[in-house]
Symmetry: C2
Subunit: 444 residues, 2 copies
């Protein structure tokens, strides 16, 4: 499985504590040293506590572009690297650092497929932000999120897109490290994120990658400069790994669109696939879609990219691809034409505005936590029916008592718990604020 | 066993990853949080990999004096805290960060005892610098380095000093953390060292502590400013724990004395106990001894401290205490009067000076490594007979071919291996260098 790069000159294995000390002191690892670390994690030779010390040292001392590229490459090579060369269409993947109410990948994958671009997406560990795309799709009866690599390949060939759990054969060292990082405060390290994303995404067989780096109170990146740095880091390292990469730095200081939940979000995604739906999401789908078709070479100019994307939304072909994908994965696609078939919550109530004014800020993170309280079952799955809708966005004027959002719920106690988060998420002010800029920067 | 401090107000247990992130971001732990960390390590609830991330975060972000004091106190309370109040004499302990050729503790413990000061010394993990004091004493036939706490107490009462392995009941959390730190590059953290030293030393029942912080190429502290900082950190935190503390910052840029080895060092210690031996060691024994008797209140002034120390060396009472201690621990003290009884190496050869000149620098660390190569047996113990003697110190003029030191060895192959280190340790220069200052700073 593991494709080793054979090194001609002799490499004397260093001790793990030497390597930790080297990074602690700001040293730069050689390619051999990084390969040795990745191999040792794969072979279970490097103890987890030394991995943790290594990760924390990297958090403080960083890694150079060269180190990060080698790290990404070696983690990619720690498992299966999917060969999609037999599929002749262009293959572009999309990665988002994750956001609250973000349905863009659900829309972009079938949209790209409709435009003739294959999108070999697997849902990795870090893309599970409270409610993942797969959680959302599981509200569709019969939908199966697991495919083996053969099934993955054949669905990509036939349909052009997939929504599946990341295969355990993909970048297994990243999976090991990611779990450890989640418990050791070492998630927010730019080189570690870069290595993680690229190792997984490039193992999925894409020739290019469109990245959506979100910053704000609903992202794990709270600082716009950090988001820009991550965008630059991923695109630079991606290019050094010979892949085309474009990143957009986008706003996550309020939920995307009007809904947060499971079935509620799928319904919104269906609107978007028809070229309808909330403005912010329409714009983000358009901009990311344009990057995908340009990177794929399907469209040469900005204008033609825009036309290509808009045409495939309006003519129903993107929505048809979404249905095809659902059917290919065993789901009942009739819900797409008849969204009333989605499970409905027993109760809907408003979150009333406590006073008149303008929505000044929304803490998207608190909204996500509130919805999680509402939806999470004891067994860890999510109630597909519940969530929030008709979210009043930043800059909207409200009267006292007017709904800031509608809360869909099945359980009174969970609703009360959720309410604490949802209430706290809103700040009203007498003056109209400047709404946050949706697309902050493009990095290519 | 564990003496918990009961907190009146409620403390909600944080997650370990929250604590790691707090320190990563430069936060200051509350007393409760530090207590929780120490308790969780003792109860094996905090996984080792999160301990490692915590330690690396402390390495980069430090701890305040308050945090460090609480950390030391809680680690001390994680095990047995020895009550020596029934011994009415003053109780002063000595701690050294460790150095090559350092025999001072071997001399100071019986010297202090002769002066009426009890020295409740246990040899902790971090005092094992290649060849520990206990390794050296094991060259005395019959010597037993293990005493239980009852035996420790009664020997202190009777003799006034001990040389034993640290009891496993002493600061067990420090033992756990120390082992982890050795493998994760987190030894050289001032607050972690401070917490480690004070938790162990103060659990041994001393009322005061004299600390020898060594800096240089034979110490793990390579930078004199760092050594000064550590001296200040230990004394400040020690005082906040209501113990008298004095630290000397001393030179470790060449071996101390003329010998490095096992029996060879014991023989040198015997000379020192007679008020003889190499000048540097005589001075260091005098200065540290003076600090001990002054801290104990046995001597009021510098002059009287000096006289007290010198008298007990000259009148044979310090040497007698050394014999008493050896006998109390089952050893054959007749070797003290007849040092020829110590095992002798089969061969002695010189390390010749490759050219004429002055000894400009000696890398004490390389000398220690060379002697370890010479002495270390496959089973991990040390050949008591081997080592180096007649070490030419920095500033000494040598002719070409004149011995830089004498090498005592039993095994030709080991000698050849050792020679590489010993040779490399010396740098000769045409001009006489300024010899390094033995005592750099006193911190009280």
């Amino acid at each position: 499985m593991r494709k080793k790069i054979i090194s001609a000159r002799k490499f004397i294995k260093p001790s793990f504590s030497y390597l930790v000390e080297k990074k602690r002191d700001g040293g730069e690892f050689s390619d051999e040293e990084i390969r040795f670390i990745v191999d040792s994690i794969l072979d279970e030779e490097m103890p987890k506590f030394q991995q943790a010390a290594f990760a924390m040292a990297v958090y403080f001392q960083g890694m150079s572009a060269q180190e990060t590229a080698t790290f990404a490459e070696e983690m990619m090579l720690s498992g299966e690297v999917i060969d999609l060369t037999k599929i002749t269409r262009p293959k572009i993947d999309k990665y988002s650092t994750g956001g609250v109410g973000d349905k863009t990948t659900l829309v972009l994958a079938p949209l790209a497929a409709a435009c003739g671009v294959v999108m070999p997406t697997m849902n990795g560990v870090d893309e599970e932000h409270v409610i993942s795309n797969l959680d959302k799709l599981s509200s569709i009866p019969g939908f199966n999120p697991v495919l083996d690599l053969k099934g993955f390949h054949s669905q990509l060939k036939k349909v052009g897109c997939t929504f599946i759990q990341q295969d355990p054969e993909i970048a297994p060292v990243d999976t090991i490290l990611y779990q450890m990082r989640q418990e050791t405060g070492t998630i927010p390290s730019l080189p570690l994120i870069t290595g993680s994303v690229l190792s997984r995404k490039l193992a999925e067989g894409a020739e290019g990658l469109v990245i959506d780096v979100k910053w704000g109170n609903g992202s794990f990146i709270k600082d716009v400069e950090q988001a820009k740095q991550l965008a630059r880091s991923i695109t630079r390292v991606g290019r050094s790994m010979k892949r085309r990469c474009v990143a957009l730095v986008t706003d996550m200081n309020q939920p995307l669109g009007d809904t947060v939940g499971t079935a509620l979000e799928i319904k919104e995604a269906i609107q978007l696939l028809k070229g309808e739906g909330p403005e912010d999401l329409q714009e983000l789908v358009l901009k990311l879609g344009m990057e995908i078709v340009r990177l794929a070479g399907v469209a040469g100019s900005t204008l033609s990219a825009k036309q290509t994307v808009q045409r495939h939304l309006k003519d129903g072909s993107a929505l048809q691809k979404f249905k095809d994908m659902i059917e290919a994965q065993g789901g009942d696609s009739s819900v797409i034409d008849d969204p009333d078939k989605f499970p409905l919550a027993k109760h809907v109530r408003k979150l009333p505005a406590p006073k008149r004014g303008y929505v000044h800020t929304i803490n998207a993170g608190l909204i996500a936590e509130g919805v999680a309280k509402l939806a999470k079952k004891k067994n860890g799955t999510f109630d597909p029916a519940v969530g929030v809708s008709e979210i009043k966005k930043v800059g909207t004027q409200v009267k006292q008592g007017e709904p800031l959002m509608m809360i869909h719920y099945n359980d009174e106690a969970k609703m009360e718990e959720a309410l604490e988060y949802l209430k706290t998420a809103y700040r009203l002010a007498p003056k109209r604020p400047n709404p946050p800029e949706l697309i902050v920067e493009r990095v290519a």
